[in-house]
Symmetry: D2
Subunit: 353 residues, 4 copies
Amino acid sequence: MKTKKAAIVGASGYSGEVLVQLLLNHPHAELVAVTSRQNAGQPLAQIFPKFASHPKSKTLRFSEPNAEVLAKQADIVFLALPHGVAAEFAVPLLQLGCQVIDLSADFRLRSAEVYKEFYAHDHPAPELLAKAVYGLPEVYRKEIKTAQLVAAPGCYPTSILLPLIPLLQAGLINPAGIIADSLSGVSGAGRKAEVDYLFCECNESVRAYGVPKHRHLSEIEQELSLAAGTKVTLQFTPHLIPVNRGIHTTLYLAPEKNFTTAAEAAALGEKIAACYVKAYANEPFVRLLEGKALPDTKNVVGTNVCEIAWRLDPRTGRLIVLSAEDNLVKGASGQAVQSMNLVCGWPETAGLV
Amino acid sequence: MKTKKAAIVGASGYSGEVLVQLLLNHPHAELVAVTSRQNAGQPLAQIFPKFASHPKSKTLRFSEPNAEVLAKQADIVFLALPHGVAAEFAVPLLQLGCQVIDLSADFRLRSAEVYKEFYAHDHPAPELLAKAVYGLPEVYRKEIKTAQLVAAPGCYPTSILLPLIPLLQAGLINPAGIIADSLSGVSGAGRKAEVDYLFCECNESVRAYGVPKHRHLSEIEQELSLAAGTKVTLQFTPHLIPVNRGIHTTLYLAPEKNFTTAAEAAALGEKIAACYVKAYANEPFVRLLEGKALPDTKNVVGTNVCEIAWRLDPRTGRLIVLSAEDNLVKGASGQAVQSMNLVCGWPETAGLV
Amino acid sequence: MKTKKAAIVGASGYSGEVLVQLLLNHPHAELVAVTSRQNAGQPLAQIFPKFASHPKSKTLRFSEPNAEVLAKQADIVFLALPHGVAAEFAVPLLQLGCQVIDLSADFRLRSAEVYKEFYAHDHPAPELLAKAVYGLPEVYRKEIKTAQLVAAPGCYPTSILLPLIPLLQAGLINPAGIIADSLSGVSGAGRKAEVDYLFCECNESVRAYGVPKHRHLSEIEQELSLAAGTKVTLQFTPHLIPVNRGIHTTLYLAPEKNFTTAAEAAALGEKIAACYVKAYANEPFVRLLEGKALPDTKNVVGTNVCEIAWRLDPRTGRLIVLSAEDNLVKGASGQAVQSMNLVCGWPETAGLV
Amino acid sequence: MKTKKAAIVGASGYSGEVLVQLLLNHPHAELVAVTSRQNAGQPLAQIFPKFASHPKSKTLRFSEPNAEVLAKQADIVFLALPHGVAAEFAVPLLQLGCQVIDLSADFRLRSAEVYKEFYAHDHPAPELLAKAVYGLPEVYRKEIKTAQLVAAPGCYPTSILLPLIPLLQAGLINPAGIIADSLSGVSGAGRKAEVDYLFCECNESVRAYGVPKHRHLSEIEQELSLAAGTKVTLQFTPHLIPVNRGIHTTLYLAPEKNFTTAAEAAALGEKIAACYVKAYANEPFVRLLEGKALPDTKNVVGTNVCEIAWRLDPRTGRLIVLSAEDNLVKGASGQAVQSMNLVCGWPETAGLV
């Protein structure tokens, strides 16, 4: 299989670190450049000692990000940058013929207006929005394969969209009134020197934040609306919990069909089970839990897997769906690599566990 | 103020430990006996080294629990026992004239049938159910003052009832469709030698459990129904998170009155604020957060305080209410001491912070 | 007992927070002022929501630190400031007649030269060094009572000096070759917005730092040398572990008298036990552990207690002594309050547990 | 390369879990059997949901351990059992021609007497002690290649032996008076349902244990003595810290040659550096840290790497050496796989990172 050269712009954050790890160990991609404004000039292993033992890491050194230089070095460029900044690099890199996989929010939305509403500034490159493909392989596999610009989904969105989209597409749940209650590890906040994310501020603490209008709502609602065929407005509450990595989401849903008898519940349960099996039984990175098992972040951290389980509640008539993923892998860098594999025609699971 | 003598039956679990701490430092109660089947005969400080420096701890030694002996030693007896077992002690202690404050679930329900449905065995002393008072002082202050048997509420119930009851009593929210999503520290599972609660099974992990029918639903729904004047069925999902102590609850509610304009939202917001101020502005152990603040378990752990904040979401039309408490203090032993203070005619805040 | 008015300069760090807590609940001191350059003008409860429920907190608001203003408001001023900065306030406050209790390193050393060696700048007020008393009450109780300027010891030093000083004074151990291996919770690093102390950098991590010459060595060696009557050079290795609060120290010592037989070991053991009993049996804040118990930070966190245990190792001929304390209480603010109690003639344990 | 079949006896503990993970992903070994008395009959993925997505896991089910059955199924058998029990399986498995890699302490010692002293029972198969090879590849690579029975080293021993052996062999340090102060994550205690290892007992806690005579001393002293050519008696203090995985060791050493001047220190430093470079520069799983870097467990967890750094302390004349490893990988299962690779003639790094 033909090897391709990959670069990471903004490689010193937590997503960047996981991208480095995945690409250093990828069977077909070769990591040729890592950039970081603040660490430019330093060897990779000085910032990330854990990569020091990797033979391929020896020659890697952080450089200043420069689109022209990167386009000469790499076939594929990952952008692990803040929103707004990513677009500045995407524009020239695409013009210079690179494949771009952007982990920021810059190209996830189809509407520049919605972008402005949620991110509070004009979209820096609205002409690219139509070109970008939302990098959720379980939904957009075909489109990703031929995309030059992939917008890797956010961490919360992935944990919410994977369990919801099949149910909405199958018309099994009411698209109105959906609630997503999510819990995230602290790495979701990035490697930023802020008091709020100090060890002593997060340890032995749990708190909600961004209530009630978190930025990720924009992309979640866009994709849910597409799946439902009608505008979906979501209730979403993120909470910060003291783990390094992992997102757990609990979804509260109203089945389209009421169930009051045990027979009705059983019939509905069979439809839900069949819907998920059809959607995910052959997906390498979605795990449908069986029996009494419920998602647990410790079973997915370090992997590209999203766990899903569900329960019907005969007392309330609701369907409860639960999911767990690693926010830095399936919620960010792993999913980006999964898209790279599709773009490059490699096995979709190459370099991922 | 007249001192009374207090005893704790089942003092070697986490709630028992906090009870010991509160009673050792209480200005009016004197801790005279602690029982523990497994630790009978051992000095208190051998099991809990942290009490070794307390002058009053020197003479305390765990004894076998015996109702007749306890009734001679103590005026007030706290039962920190599993459900089913607590009633065995409550019956003789009450007959012998003790005040009993039970931290188990045995006397929280008014219906022996509901008890059987949720606890899977016949109620061990149904004749006492009418006599027991639900020990939530913010709601039942008057009744607690004259109760011989107080049933201290569960940890989850306290975090859910305190924010909901005033809204239901005021008719501000629809009693149908309420959702409570709760996160609890591991001490909620008790000091039990089970693999599920080992450090390595809980650390770097988050998981839901008891989905969809947790036992605490029975007492929560009973009290919500009384507040609403109509039967309330609750959706409740507890999650286990890696902190020692603390419960955070996020409530998803439908206001009785829709709000679509900013003016309607403002008007509704004023009503909600006024409702909470009326209910809790003078309560020593409920803290209504202002401005941008949201509840955080680290701000209540070690105290008897329950924090409450709320937000109206104009996008979904919902009211989101959030609360935080220490599951072992306001959610168990602190609230039990608060009830003791009422029963004994002491200042309600005595020995509590 | 006569109440005195207290102020805290630099009250927004972790030591400052604990000082606020202790003084708000102190029976004889009244907290009248808290200063913080960055939070000046804000209510205390906005920065520390957990104090919002405290009745005395309502009127407290952070002010700009100003010695003249403070001297008018307060009888006693606590300085919870970085070294170098503390002296700037101590000088005028002392001149204006205040009692000063400094939690920084500025007045712990008797020699301005040693200060310069370890803190890399000239001492800002060398004329005060002779006036200052090292605020370790178990050793300098008498001197503290009449001191105008108390230098509260560092957190590591307290955990090392309390176990060592009695042994050195009694001549039971060789003052040469002492090793102190210490583990500290992350609050020891202060509430500083630095990447090194982010949750994800400290959680699931343990690392040594400041090897081999940590600044605290200067005050530890000064005090050990005074106790031994000869110059002591210490080997000291601090490690950062993922807990909020707590220091654990393991000391490796050579007894002055060799022991090879069981009888010799028993005889030496009796001398050590007697030495500690004599030094600490009546000390309210030192807990000598008995039997198989070993120090555990979870048994001292939140208290002003230092736990001590020891073992003779017949295989190596060494004496191992272990200690545990809360770095923010006995290692900082609690010990400072203990000194305040002595200075003011109040019971030494007032306001402390 | 020829594939071999591997089995794990006692696969439901923490070491067993890591072994399963390593063998499922190994390029040359095929995991054909996992045994567990308590889980016999259950699918692998029911006990370890995280393996459910692995294609090779589908057919794996825990079986009752039976040496004859295992010998028919597998070429290589890993024993992840308690000491004493492992030997029961090793004896028949060796007779039946299997390669055995034992992770227990049963075959680490050369002397049955020392075994009895430290493990408090007679050695169950003393005739095998001469046959077993201590599975520390960096020291016994040649012997492991031809061994039928490999005794994988303990977790603490690995973290202590790797930094010490080259220094002792080179005669750079005094073999007398060595101190090893170690910190271990809680997984070191195994997946045992004991109150001491509950989340709430370990979180926010640090404590020493096994002071002063831990069982691991026996194998550490055996190997240090062999390296030094003289009997070595070690001071060793293990501590439990609240992380899942990782061991950090700080070693206090006396250089054979005193250094008092800067020139002497520099000369000695060069010798130490050269000694480590010679021993480990080409070792894939030992990482010598440079510059200001110190070992940090977070940089080795999940890998088979042991990090080492050292400092000379001119104030005390001592050499401080620090190491970090993952107790379940380099300290147990990873090292066992490294030995398997040697035994089977595969690349030593196969299946390891």
